[in-house]
Symmetry: C2
């Protein structure tokens, strides 16, 4: 039989952060597509009356200030409220409810609804990062977990095209960070080293999955990526455990790599590239202190749904929901395609 | 402060099958929706040249027989092939690839492309169940896991409206059944009883989440449901561990409850209701024998995406991907709404 070729032969890959496997079926890239297509994001025109704009009136009657940089306000329909009665203690192991307290905020990136991150200046993106850090600082004092995330594009359930993200802080540690905390701690105990610090070192040696790199950060397609063009952004120095650990050089380097990565994403299919992105770092809360979680390395995740074009996405459905995630192109192929994309945004090409 | 009311006050619920939590935020049902809407499934007209129809020619040039009941053929673009070279053994714990072998089949439910399960007769659905069992019997001899699943509707990535499901068999135990196997085994060791047998007993006592029941099966919204109208179909007698354990009464009872459940689903928003569904039972493979997995109880899962109407779905995006699933209406409210739906399909109302 032939030699194993990862770009031809199906295999499974292990995600050590989640203790899960991914099925990689690269031969399936040849499959034609006749199912549902998405409306390319570019066709959504920015609304001049967008309620998230500077000075606009929101649905609850409140008027936004004439903000000029970022702007944070409480989510008008929060999934988490700070004060609610608690459920009684469970009486049976199969019927367990627990208390959930928290707060949900919306953060606008820019006063202009037609703006997106790759089109913003490095200074403007730096302001977003500074605001993230001050939010995590404030909310992290009270809450165990502060999830900063951005749903971008209608296909990712984003109901408003104005550039914005959300911050949901909770009294409980949600599933994903709980599992990541456990897996990283197990690795740390077993090997005496932070899993993701080790991982970054190996990726820099192998160079196969790196999309972008500057003096402070690397953006790469993880070896175990599930979404077609999934990436992770990881720090190269000082082993920050939380966003609040970043120094000025790291903040500026992050603004630069975010601008370049989102530019490459938009250039990949020449569209306003949809994704959900967010930050994972060591849990916070009243008892956390800087440096208390050496098993953690702060990182951002970009989870974009598009597979073949601006209108054909990967569906994580039947097999993926009931058995395990499956991908067609390999992480190495995805990284190469992103690397090949220009660092100049297609909208700025003719300027 | 008020008394805790699960229909008003946010809380988390534990899923003992997956060792995961769900955030329930019922107060959020009041949120307006101005984001992406789906094309209601009803508007997709059945294609008289559909390649899955009896007698049609498929894209690879093969002609389907003039089948009159179910029809199974190999997937033309399989994610799993029976013979492929294996990756070399991993050299580092963070870069682990493993072998994956398997086979993918497509199974048509009915010769007619405009037919759907709720519109089929109980006899016709019984033929589907018999075919599932013979597939699991045959493939289960060789493969550790045989995933029977149906992606229904364009919104669930289904690229062909002809009534059909898929069967993906693999040499490896995928994530979802691996975790369920572990959780059920832990429970069995701790309490000396099958988790899901105990669960069904409690649900029959509480009656709050039951949608349908006959002498052989119950359909209910699990206490820990993540999708708005998620249901589970579980057997009431004989504790079958795999589909191959079902007796004639159980098969007929299953055909009846499947017809009723899918009818209620279509009636909920008066549309051809999309979902991914599939079966979970004890792992198979050469060393498995009937009765070897008393910690398992066979069950079907229906995972439908719609939230408010035929065109507004729940998005499992940013917070859900990066932190944990969140739902608006409670499982009890979802069960009551489904219970209230007629057992007569809306298309047959005026006949
Ligand atoms: O094989 P199909 O129906 O064309 O493909 C569909 O189901 C598969 C299994 O859930 C998914 O991997 C695909 O993303 C989806 O489009
Ligand atoms: O709050 P939004 O942006 O209206 O809502 C969106 O993001 C939330 C958090 O990921 C999801 O729970 C919603 O399903 C989605 O539509």
């Amino acid at each position: 039989m032939d030699q194993f070729d990862p770009t031809e032969h199906q295999h499974v890959r292990y995600n050590p952060l989640k203790d899960e496997w991914i099925l990689v079926s690269p031969h399936r890239c040849k499959r034609p597509w006749s199912g549902q297509t998405e409306q390319p994001a570019e066709e959504q025109q920015p609304d001049l009356n967008n309620p998230l704009r500077a000075g606009a009136v929101r649905s609850n009657g409140q008027r936004n200030p004439n903000y000029t940089s970022t702007y944070v306000f409480p989510n008008d329909f929060p999934a988490l409220l700070p004060k609610v009665p608690e459920p009684p203690p469970p009486e049976h192991p199969l019927f367990q409810a627990g208390p959930a307290k928290g707060t949900c905020r919306v953060m606008c990136f820019h006063p202009d609804s037609s703006m997106t991150l790759p089109l913003m200046s490095v200074e403007e993106i730096l302001a977003v990062i500074e605001e993230w850090i001050s939010q995590v600082t404030e909310l992290g004092r009270r809450y165990t977990w502060v999830q900063v995330f951005e749903n971008k594009g209608a296909v990712m359930g984003c109901s408003n095209p104005h550039p914005h993200c959300q911050i949901w802080a909770s009294s409980f540690l949600p599933n994903e960070p709980r599992v990541k905390d456990r897996c990283q701690l197990d690795y740390f105990k077993k090997y005496g080293k932070s899993m993701m610090v080790e991982y970054v070192e190996k990726e820099l040696e192998q160079k196969e999955r790196i999309v972008l790199e500057n003096s402070e950060w690397v953006a790469l397609v993880p070896y175990w990526a599930a979404w077609p063009y999934e990436t992770m952004v990881l720090p190269l120095k000082n082993k920050p455990q939380r966003m609040t650990d970043l120094n000025p050089e790291q903040k500026r380097g992050l603004a630069e790599i975010m601008k370049q990565l989102t530019t490459k994403y938009d250039n990949l299919f020449q569209c306003n590239f949809p994704y959900s992105m967010g930050w994972h770092g060591a849990p916070t809360g009243p008892s956390s202190t800087p440096g208390d979680s050496p098993h953690w390395l702060l990182h951002a995740l970009y989870l974009p749904p598009l597979l073949r074009s601006a209108s054909v996405k990967k569906f994580m459905v039947g097999y993926e929901m009931l058995a395990q995630p499956q991908r067609d192109l390999t992480p190495e192929q995805a990284a190469a395609k992103l690397r090949d994309c220009s660092n100049v945004h297609y909208k700025n090409k003719k300027d």
